[in-house]
């Protein structure tokens, strides 16, 4: 049977997930832009649009449950629905981190600028690129690519460590900048967490494709 009833719903579920992924990418990119370009209006836009992302999450939850209940998927279909249902809250949390970065931007933008935000833009680029590639890999069910992306998380972690050290140094040298530096530390931490979340998405893509659980295992 070429056109199964379930196919239509699985396609819809995939589309909704990719839309959520796109919105999450956009939120992250705008949040960083609001920080680096000191654009608080843009930051407020990120916060506003987070509500839409929350709605998208609920919609995917609803559809996933409906497919499980009414279509009773098995094998690859089942793994697909499970993966989508698990990736959705991860994307929503990434968007929450983007909102938190936007919150920080609104505070920092009122203070004098600290250096050129050190390694943060590069870290954000890494995270955004990882997220984009992870979603591409999910679309094409390319688990080899997912495994590659997982390895990249180490780069973000390394950058986070450098940013952390540098910001602590700034706080010690210039106590007047402590508040801003602390906010930037939060931003760095959010980006580091986003890297972890992207890794989770990649692990779920490996599950989808290979039915293998690689989470919590040293072997990638």
């Amino acid at each position: 049977m070429e056109n199964r009833i379930i196919d239509q719903q699985l396609d819809l579920l995939r589309d909704k997930l990719l839309l959520l992924g796109g919105s999450t990418e956009k939120a992250l990119q705008r949040a960083m832009q609001s920080l680096t370009q000191r654009d608080s209006d843009l930051a407020r836009k990120v916060l506003e649009e987070d509500k839409i992302i929350n709605q998208m999450e609920l919609e995917i939850d609803r559809l996933s449950i409906e497919i499980l209940a009414l279509q009773q998927p098995a094998a690859h279909d089942l793994r697909f629905v499970i993966s989508v249902a698990k990736i959705t809250p991860i994307l929503e949390r990434i968007a929450d981190h983007a909102s938190n970065i936007a919150d920080a931007a609104i505070i920092i933008n009122d203070e004098p600028q600290l250096k050129s935000y050190i390694d943060l833009p590069a870290m954000a680029n890494n995270a955004a690129e990882m997220l984009r590639t992870a979603l591409d890999a999910f679309t094409t069910e390319d688990s080899a690519l997912s495994r590659e992306i997982i390895k990249q998380d180490k780069e973000i972690d390394a950058r986070y460590k450098r940013v952390f050290d540098e910001l602590i140094e700034i706080m010690i040298d210039n106590p007047a900048h402590t508040a801003s530096a602390a906010q930037l530390l939060f931003v760095a931490k959010h980006l580091e967490r986003i890297g972890d979340y992207v890794k989770d998405i990649c692990e779920l893509n490996v599950y989808l494709r290979e039915a293998a659980f690689i989470k919590h295992s040293k072997k990638i």
Binding site: M1, E2, R4, I6, A74, A75, R79, A211
Partner: protein
């Protein structure tokens, strides 16, 4: 888990038409094994080779080996009546005898002379009815006709009848396909309960039923065994593409 039934290189023919091809499979003791596959794939034929029910078909011919507890059931000296006592069967359509509820269950015990006196017979009937989860529903109407029972109750009565002669293996050919969801659930709960004591082989068209009740699942197509695996594996990550296509309804 030791094998209760061991089938090797089994071929089955209806006259010149081959219905089963070189089936080799082990059925572990006190587990539930489900047979799935499209209509006409040979799963019921295969089920019936396990207690020689196909013997009643004159043109049927079997080669290969079926060992139950290590004994070849197709050996010339096999006592087929004893075999069918040991390997009971429940069919798709419940088929109670036109007798009372009590007599339906007592029948096998009587003809096999498996009781000492009337009280013993009554005890054995009660035990079979309890084991088939029917006792509470029928204990006050044992002498009434079995035809007064609902479809689901009649099917459990047939299970009680099979259990009464103390089998070791129970073959079930789509036992719940004609029942409503509640009666189906009762049969499924019963299957899961019965596997503590019996080895059960169940043919079903209901994928979710196979998933719910069985430990292992065998998928047949065109008389061949395509895949035989742990049920959990079959329904989450089957090894064969044909299995995946079948259980996800992709069959064309």
């Amino acid at each position: 888990m030791p094998s209760k039934i061991s089938i090797s290189h089994l071929n089955f023919y209806y006259g010149k038409v081959q219905a089963l091809y070189d089936i080799t499979l082990e059925i572990p003791e006190r587990q539930v094994v489900a047979f799935i596959g499209p209509s006409g794939c040979g799963k019921s034929t295969f089920l019936r080779t396990l207690n020689r029910m196909n013997d009643t078909i004159p043109i049927a011919k079997v080669d290969g080996m079926v060992l139950i507890d290590g004994k070849d059931i197709y050996a010339p000296n096999t006592d087929v009546v004893a075999l069918r006592r040991k390997v009971g069967m429940v069919f798709q359509k419940s088929n109670p005898f036109p007798k009372s509820i009590f007599e339906n269950v007592a029948y096998g015990i009587r003809i096999n002379r498996m009781y000492e006196n009337k009280a013993d017979l009554a005890d054995r009937v009660e035990k079979a009815l309890r084991d088939s989860a029917l006792w509470e529903e029928v204990k006050d109407r044992l002498s009434t006709s079995a035809f007064g029972l609902s479809g689901g109750q009649q099917q459990r009565l047939c299970i009680a009848r099979a259990l009464a002669v103390q089998p070791e293996v129970i073959l079930m050919d789509e036992p719940a396909s004609a029942l409503d969801p509640i009666a189906t659930q009762k049969i499924e709960e019963l299957v899961v309960e019965l596997k503590r004591q019996y080895t059960i082989v169940i043919v079903t068209h209901n994928m979710q039923q196979a998933g719910r009740v069985s430990d292992r699942t065998a998928f047949f197509m065109l008389g061949k065994l395509v895949e035989y695996n742990a049920t959990q594996k079959m329904f989450t990550n089957p090894e064969e593409k044909l299995t995946e296509d079948y259980i996800t309804g992709r069959f064309g």
